[in-house]
């Protein structure tokens, strides 16, 4: 499940451009044009709750209108499974390979065997839809200062004890309010709201892969890109098929130990590492988030092991975000990650030679910015969830011409 927290209510859009917050952000805008910056700042403010509607998706899914939906609207045969004897199936979406009997569901709770045919129950069944700055994902090397039409369905294929969105990720689809949002409508709305990107996020997009694939296709047809925020706990073939359609991927690498994955995530580390390698092989732009949880995954040796693995297997240009843990869900007994711990992680990664190491969930920290790894000039300045300055030109540092990897311009 994702670290990116879904805000408690949806945003009203537009109508908050005169807010003090927006004005404050606007004064910091240097390289972005005023219109782009204001759009981003408005949405960042809205995400923080400046203006909200009571109904989760009502503002962004205007056709939904609170009408009753039938289960059949959301039920589509799953793409990744094999049929077994006696009407059982084996799910081939994630490494769990759930063997599911007739009228039973897999671990994720959103896929059901009906008479030997496996169905996803969450196609077009959107339980959260928001417009977020792309920096909120976080994707720092992908179209900075732009907006992402962000959506989620219920369900997840792991059960992280720190999940911020457990109320949707750990729920069955029928347990959370949702609206019908078919792929073409999502693409249309993304364009309507000036979002160059659709983001699949908040819960765990692995479990709504079919919807993600169809929506990515519809988006590309309409000139809208797609990114996914995922745990990467997926089989190689399904990963290639689904995330192969993405323009960028953010993977939550939750620790660098199998015991943590087993006890805190209820998953496995190895398949996630395999996914990262696969994404690199297929040339997919990928950023990594590592949520630093006090006492559980914050040792120097674990940081070092992680960083060395990344350097060896993915290269030094992969952005890595060490983010601050907030007590949530089943880990309310632990404190916030101390900022010095995050800085220690970054120092180790820097020392090992990674080029783009960020500190996340700590507003105002200088390690939110992008610096040229060669001449050390500030290239992208970020304030809160917005980009206030973007100096990269044609994918390079304007001062020393060092190529800066990423997708910088639409």
């Amino acid at each position: 499940m994702a670290r990116e927290m879904v805000s408690p209510a949806d945003v009203k859009f537009p109508g908050v451009s005169s807010s003090n917050e927006a004005t404050q952000y606007a004064q910091l805008s240097l390289a972005l044009d005023r219109r782009s910056f204001l759009k981003c700042a408005v949405m960042a403010g809205a995400a923080c709750g400046i203006s909200a509607f009571g109904e989760p998706c009502a503002a962004l899914l205007p056709w939904a209108g609170g009408s009753a939906h039938s289960d059949s609207q959301f039920t589509v045969e799953a793409k990744f499974y094999e049929k077994l004897q006696t009407k059982k199936i084996k799910c081939k979406l994630c490494p769990r390979e759930c063997v599911v009997g007739d009228r039973e569901r897999g671990y994720c709770g959103v896929r059901e065997n009906r008479e030997g045919i496996y169905y996803t129950l969450v196609h077009s069944r959107v339980c959260a839809a928001h417009i977020d700055p792309i920096e909120k994902k976080p994707l720092f090397h992908y179209l900075p200062g732009t907006l992402a039409f962000s959506l989620a369905t219920a369900g997840c294929n792991v059960n992280c004890k720190f999940c911020q969105n457990w109320d949707i990720s750990q729920a069955r689809p029928e347990q959370v309010p949702a609206d019908y949002a078919p792929p073409q409508k999502v693409a249309e709305l993304a364009k309507q709201y000036h979002c160059p990107t659709i983001a699949y996020t908040y819960s765990e997009p692995v479990v709504f892969s079919e919807y993600l694939m169809d929506t990515a296709d519809a988006g590309h047809d309409a000139g809208v890109r797609s990114v996914v925020v995922s745990n990467g706990y997926m089989q190689t073939e399904s990963l290639k098929a689904a995330y192969g359609k993405m323009d960028a991927v953010k993977i939550d690498l939750k620790a660098f130990s199998e015991s943590y994955y087993r006890n805190v995530v209820v998953g496995e580390l190895k398949p996630v590492l395999d996914s990262l390698v696969t994404l690199r092989k297929i040339g997919k732009w990928t950023e990594i988030v590592y949520l630093v949880v006090p006492t559980l995954n914050d040792s120097d040796s674990e940081f070092r092991g992680l960083v060395r693995w990344i350097k060896t297997n993915l290269g030094v240009d992969v952005p890595v975000h060490f983010t601050q843990f907030h007590p949530e869900y089943l880990l309310k007994n632990l404190p916030l990650t101390p900022v010095p711990t995050l800085e220690r992680a970054k120092a180790i990664a820097d020392a090992e030679g990674l080029h783009y190491v960020y500190i996340g969930n700590v507003p105002g920290h200088p390690a939110q910015n992008t610096y040229c790894p060669k001449c050390r000039h500030l290239l992208v300045e970020r304030v809160g969830l917005t980009t206030s300055q973007m100096l990269i030109r044609k994918g390079s540092c304007p001062f020393c011409k060092q190529p800066i990897p990423g997708m910088w311009h639409a």
Partner: protein
């Protein structure tokens, strides 16, 4: 529904002494007199059977089911009359929830006739019909199992958690964090558990303890590792632990393989009920019943198939103490 004629204490004890049996560690039966197994020291598990439960038809007979339940309850509480056990269990004004298992459709869910028999006796013990709620996870599943849905008026209530919803707040114990059905938290202070005796491909077997997965919002999260320790942890959640007063396991039709779904080829007409106040002891005894049927059919033990229900031992361990799986502390009474 007619009230069953009372059985005298002497007749009843004679039946118990003649039929009382305790399963040996190896699964064989040892005859043990009821007097040698004082209830104060042991968890009593009562097994009642009626070979004629179905008569000539496929469905169980209502009156015979009522009689079977009465015999079981009298044996469990060691009393002579049909109303007495229920008066020990509930008081007028109680809100009583009957947690059935409706996943198996008409063929393999908690029997309607059994549920009606329980409702009958509860009302005789002074519980108003409207204060009884028959429930499971999903209203549609209840309907498919043959239950008449009702959530208003002075009738017995019957609906799923999908109508009532789950509590917003998470409750936790051990490895489990879940939201509880509002039917459990708000509509009942006494919980009577009515599971079905079945094989389960993940957990090994499914009876009393496993049936509580129907109370939480996220049971799909708790099937890895043979549901261990999750089933035990779920049963430790305070609303479940404090409210569950009785288990009446419907073993009229049971499965020994292919579960939890209903596979007729792996089922048998057992024509029995298993009743206990200790859910761990009941699950242990039910497990042995399934093992005996598997042996009879030439199947390997669940242990050999690497799906022995290890959660039963966990439920009995020092961290849970939900009951006992120690045969020396279980009195199995066959009537």
């Amino acid at each position: 529904m007619k009230k069953t004629e009372g059985t005298t204490r002497r007749d009843f004890l004679r039946t118990c002494v003649a039929g009382a049996a305790v399963l040996g560690a190896s699964g064989r039966l040892e005859i043990l007199a009821a007097e040698q197994a004082p209830a104060v020291a042991k968890s009593r598990v009562v097994i009642v059977r009626d070979p004629m439960l179905r008569g000539a038809g496929a469905t169980v007979d209502s009156q015979r089911t009522q009689n079977l339940l009465d015999h079981a309850m009298q044996a469990l509480f060691d009393v002579d009359h049909t109303a007495e056990p229920w008066k020990k269990l509930v008081r007028p004004g109680d809100l009583v929830g009957l947690k059935v298992n409706a996943l198996g459709g008409r063929a393999f869910s908690s029997n309607l006739q059994l549920v009606e028999a329980v409702c009958e006796r509860l009302q005789e013990a002074g519980i108003k019909a409207k204060d009884i709620v028959v429930w499971d996870r999903d209203t549609e599943e209840l309907e498919r199992a043959g239950f008449h849905i009702s959530d208003a008026g002075n009738h017995v209530q019957c609906f799923g958690t999908d109508r009532a919803g789950y509590e917003e707040d998470l409750v936790t114990y051990g490895s489990v964090g879940s939201r509880l059905s509002k039917i459990l938290t708000r509509n009942c202070n006494v919980l009577i558990n009515l599971p079905v005796l079945k094989d389960h491909d993940g957990a090994g077997v499914s009876m009393a303890l496993k049936n509580m997965y129907g109370v939480i919002h996220n049971p799909n999260k708790y099937h890895p590792n043979g549901c261990n320790p999750y089933i035990a942890d779920v049963n430790m959640l305070p609303d479940i632990r404090t409210k569950m007063h009785l288990t009446v396991c419907d073993a009229t039709t049971a499965t020994y393989e292919g579960g939890p779904g209903y596979k007729p080829q792996y089922s048998w007409k057992n024509n029995a009920l298993i009743v206990a106040r200790d859910p761990v002891a009941l699950d242990y005894v039910g497990w042995q019943m399934i093992e005996r049927k598997r042996a009879e059919k030439g199947l390997k033990t669940l242990e050999a198939e690497k799906r022995a229900p290890s959660y039963i031992a966990t439920a009995a361990d020092s961290q849970h103490r939900l009951g006992t799986n120690d045969l020396r502390k279980i009195a199995v009474v066959e009537v």
